[in-house]
């Protein structure tokens, strides 16, 4: 008896391609995507972090510090950039603090290091340690701790002699003076270290907090619990918008299966107006869904919705419209609701993984970040991040809005073509 039940299940599975895809292909696809997202090869070093460097001190010490940072393999330092507002092709000029801050705000770099005036003078003195400023985009959780560590390392490698002398002065101040012989040996070692035989790194490793670092978050919004509310509201919101639009598109297949589509098409309605009506409804439902999610975020998690209302409205309308079009494409491409459910889940989860709904795109490799731009989620999330993280003016949303509007037009055109199979045979 149990063997018969097994046989029935096996036969059903062997004839259901969607179930096979869900069971055997989807896990492999997801595994591959996540493996790509988190780094193609485990032994490869992570992608260099772009960091803007501003030297306001302009002393030998600060220049040596900048040089040390420039030699870090984990960093890709920027010391020049085109003026803000100018064309990307304009000649680059040395960065100043406002320009570096704008690079972080615009998402061109996750952090900027500013060496303020007096930075070099603080080296070698026994008083307060030198301080650097770190302007960060907190949406990148890796850049800040990485830079904190590398700044300490750079301080030690750039000025090992100064740090060692400072240490000795402190020693002599609190523990008593050294003998002339001890002092001679110490000077010889310090000269050797300055020649760059690696002792500097050893010295740096042995001393904690050589450099004070003041971190300033220049973009973004964190809720009361410190979570990145706006980012996750957008990420989760867009992913579920796609799911609900796909399900709503399934209503079209339900019409086919129940026979109401045949009846509707026997009236003067026509397929074009039917699809337009469905698209409008799904769009409005999507707007409601996203609005509800962000309102909940505002009420419970302190999301600043009211101050970003115009940008939110524009992005939500464009995103919901495109998602609704996408739902119709899925529905018109599938033969049954079962197929829609299977294929829709696969496509949406893949797009969400690549597009940054599950894992921020800015933490992915550059290749994967570019690949993410082929997904719907990538553009939608970029737009929401501009609104809520970067406080970008509305006019700066034009690339995302344009792409979403073009995607909507493309989706509707494709859905209309695919729907021809239900029209006159």
């Amino acid at each position: 008896m149990i063997a018969t039940v097994l046989r029935i299940s096996r036969l059903n599975l062997s004839r259901d391609r969607v179930a096979q895809l869900m069971a055997f292909v989807l896990p492999l696809a997801f595994f591959s995507i996540f493996a790509l997202v988190f780094g193609q090869q485990p032994r490869r070093s992570p992608n260099p972090v772009r960091v803007a460097l501003v030297d306001e001190d302009r002393t030998d010490a600060s220049r040596a510090f900048v040089k040390a940072l420039e030699h870090e393999a984990a960093l890709r330092p920027l010391t020049t950039a085109p003026p803000r507002g100018g064309p990307a092709s304009a000649a680059s000029v040395p960065l100043d603090r406002p320009r570096a801050e704008s690079l972080v705000k615009d998402g061109d770099a996750p952090a900027a290091v500013v060496l303020p005036a007096g930075f070099g003078a603080a080296f070698g003195s026994a008083g307060t340690p030198p301080r650097a400023e770190l302007l960060v985009d907190p949406s990148d959780p890796i850049a800040t701790p990485l830079l904190r560590g590398l700044l300490q390392k750079a301080a030690a490698t750039a000025q090992p002699k100064a740090f060692a002398r400072r240490g000795l002065e402190m020693f002599e101040k609190y523990a008593g003076g050294m003998t002339p012989q001890q002092r001679g040996l110490m000077d010889a070692w310090l000269n050797q270290a300055a020649a760059g035989d690696g002792a500097g790194e050893a010295a740096g490793a042995g001393v904690a907090e050589l450099l004070g670092v003041d971190v300033h978050e220049v973009v973004g919004q964190r809720g009361p619990d410190g979570s990145m509310v706006a980012f996750f509201a957008a990420g989760v919101g867009v992913m579920f918008l796609l799911f609900s639009c796909s399900a709503a598109g399934g209503a079209l297949l339900e019409e086919v299966e129940s026979g109401t589509l045949e009846r509707l098409l026997s009236t003067p309605l026509g397929m074009g107006r039917l699809l337009a009506g469905k698209w409008l409804f799904i769009t409005l439902t999507g707007v409601l869904q996203v609005t509800l999610m962000f309102t909940w975020g505002a009420l419970v998690f302190g999301l600043e919705l009211l101050s970003h209302l115009a940008g939110f409205a524009l992005m939500t309308l464009a995103t919901a419209g495109a998602a609704a079009g996408f739902g119709l494409v899925l529905a018109t491409a599938c033969r049954s609701r079962g197929q829609l459910s299977g294929i829709g889940t696969i496509v949406i989860l893949m797009m969400s993984a690549l597009g940054g709904s599950m894992f921020p795109r800015f933490l992915m490799s550059e290749k994967m970040q570019k690949l993410g731009l082929f997904t719907f989620n990538g553009w939608a999330l970029d737009g929401y991040i501009k609104v809520f993280w970067r406080n970008a003016p509305l006019v700066e949303l034009w690339p995302q809005l344009l792409v979403l509007v073009l995607l909507t037009a493309a989706f509707l055109t494709i859905a209309r073509r695919l729907a021809r199979r239900w029209e006159t045979a």
Binding site: S258, G259, T260, E262, R263, S266, T267, P268, T424
Partner: protein
């Protein structure tokens, strides 16, 4: 002679290499109820869908009220009742009538009166505001028909309107169709219920392999196919020991059968012959030629895929 309201001439349609219609023709006259019969796959649904504008013919023509119909032509004079119960189960009966009324072009002003008429016509007025998902199969069928006639079409295409309903609901649907005819609506009825076609239709078209196999009134079809002879069955206590002229013994051992042209003239002679042979007749049944016999005669007994 009555005017033909709907005419189909030499309709041809193939789906890939499979021919569905191979020169089918029919005419529906004003006020008529025309039955369209045929085995599965004969081409009935394709023909009805072509009339409804849902299938583009490869050849031939369709005309409604003297106007040639193409798939994209407006069809305000036409109503369609599909075989599937094509209504929204989550909506109430009234809401279904309202949405399909609007889609058929009824104005907001005319809609309430037409919906009220449809609810009364279908006997659903007491349940008008209940979701259709709570309705019985018969109630859904009645609503399904009503959604196709709200705009008062001159011609109504009905595809299997009584399939799967109980005898009471079927009677009610027949009454509804009768009321429609009294209002002047012409009906083209596709059905596999031969008794239904026999009882309701003015004329019948039998279609097979995409062609019209025969058409006419029931009497005309009988005369042109199985003939007017009637079958007489005598239930007897015991079969005679030797065969009787003109009376064949059935396999059950208690029935003698004969085919007669004139019952009044030939039946007494058969009974006398049986009595003379010592056969005790307990019952006599006379059965006229049926549409079933005509249908089998025209389309054969071979199963259709």
């Amino acid at each position: 002679m009555r005017e033909s309201l709907l005419t189909v001439r030499d309709a041809r349609k193939s789906f890939g290499s499979t021919p569905a219609l191979q020169g089918a023709s029919l005419a529906l006259e004003a006020g008529e109820l025309l039955g369209l019969l045929g085995p599965n796959g004969a081409g009935k649904t394709t023909l009805v869908r072509a009339i409804a504008g849902r299938v583009r013919l490869d050849g031939g023509e369709i005309a409604l009220a003297g106007r040639a119909l193409r798939p994209e032509s407006p069809r305000a004079e036409l109503g369609v009742v599909p075989q599937e119960i094509a209504v929204y189960a989550q909506l109430t009966a009234r809401e279904n009538l309202e949405v399909f009324g609007r889609l058929h072009g009824l104005s907001r002003q005319a809609l309430p009166e037409r919906v009220a008429w449809a609810l009364a016509w279908t006997g659903l007025d007491a349940r008008a505001d209940e979701p259709v998902k709570r309705f019985s199969g018969g109630m859904r069928r009645r609503l399904n028909i009503a959604c196709g006639v709200l705009h008062e079409p001159r011609v109504l295409l009905l595809d299997e309107p009584t399939v799967g309903v109980d005898p009471q609901s079927r009677e009610r649907i027949y009454e509804m169709l009768s009321a429609l005819r009294k209002r002047g609506t012409s009906l083209l009825l596709t059905t596999h219920q031969l008794d239904e076609a026999e009882g309701l239709c003015d004329r019948i078209v039998v279609i097979d392999h995409g062609r019209v196999a025969a058409s006419g009134t029931l009497q005309e079809l009988i005369a042109s196919t199985v003939g007017e002879r009637r079958r007489v069955s005598l239930s007897v206590e015991r079969l005679p020991e030797r065969p009787l002229a003109g009376l064949a013994a059935e396999g059950d051992g208690h029935t003698l059968c004969a085919e007669v042209q004139d019952v009044a003239a030939e039946l007494p002679a058969l009974l006398q012959q049986a009595a003379a042979a010592g056969v005790v007749v307990r019952d006599v049944a006379v059965k006229g030629p049926s549409l079933h016999a005509v249908f089998i005669h025209l389309t054969g007994r071979e199963l259709r895929e």
